[in-house]
Symmetry: C2
Subunit: 164 residues, 2 copies
């Protein structure tokens, strides 16, 4: 296999993956869509943040986040606390239930991934992981994304071509 061909394959496989991802996500955890799951995860690791931060981080419109947040609040998975410093701001926090559900879904996702990767040699797992990190980390630097975040996401950028 040669480099150009490898690029084709990567494109094709990432696209195939992207196309299927959401559909199957909903099937496994009807109670928590992929987006909700991600938002909850972000709240957990950030220890609470504003809706605007989520929007910037995930390159979503603030109205979209507003509605997602409203749904999560309705489901009692998160709660809002008005920032005493600035009454426009609502700091979002996980509730106990939210934390529990998040942990459950995380666990079941983990199981699925583990099963899927069970027969892979450790060396391959490590290399694959590293490649994915490298691929996703390609932020030809930010454009909408303030996101001070540490870990994994640079989001926005790659949105571009990720798929379609």
């Amino acid at each position: 296999m040669e480099a150009d061909e490898a690029v084709e394959t990567i494109q094709r496989e990432m696209t195939a993956f992207a196309r299927r991802a959401r559909a199957s996500a909903g099937r496994m955890h009807p109670e928590l869509s992929l987006v909700s799951y991600t938002l909850l995860g972000h709240l957990e690791e950030s220890g609470g943040c504003r809706a605007t931060d989520l929007a910037a981080h995930y390159a979503l419109d603030k109205s979209t986040v507003s509605r997602q947040v409203a749904a999560l609040e309705r489901a009692r998975l998160i709660e809002r606390r008005v920032d005493p410093e600035d009454h426009r701001v609502q700091v979002l926090h996980l509730t106990g239930t939210g934390r529990r559900i998040l942990a459950q879904v995380t666990e079941s996702r983990r199981t699925a991934f583990r099963e899927r990767l069970a027969h892979w040699p450790a060396e391959d797992l490590e290399r694959f992981a590293a490649y994915l990190v490298r691929y996703n980390a390609w932020p030809p630097e930010g454009y909408g994304d303030d996101d001070q975040e540490t870990d994994q996401e640079q989001e926005a950028d790659q949105e571009q071509e990720a798929d379609q």
Copy 2:
């Protein structure tokens, strides 16, 4: 890095990728959604097939495919030919326009991917590609998806449940 941790990373990165994918849908090629692109691609490589085949192949409901096909036909990207053998069947074919648009979109996607992967050593590209294929090809045999693979396509299978 150790195997378990690698699995975590793979899960996290694949999820991040999946989450963003659709969001970007339409930004690059408003004229051809991800699904439409995929369907067109399938028609090209299969040289024409039935709506039912597409549905089975991509684990989509037949009604979804029906509407997608209708849209593609309206856009003159594909055409239907009634199978003279069986009047229930409509064999779908790309039109010249369809072939052209598909080629354009493929090319622009290719460019984006190439840019993104430009600085990767060939060896890494090849390994990454191989890992993705392996990951996506995980059909621990069908369970919802009959997809009887009649003639031309095998590669399809993986549609199943890509992630999570």
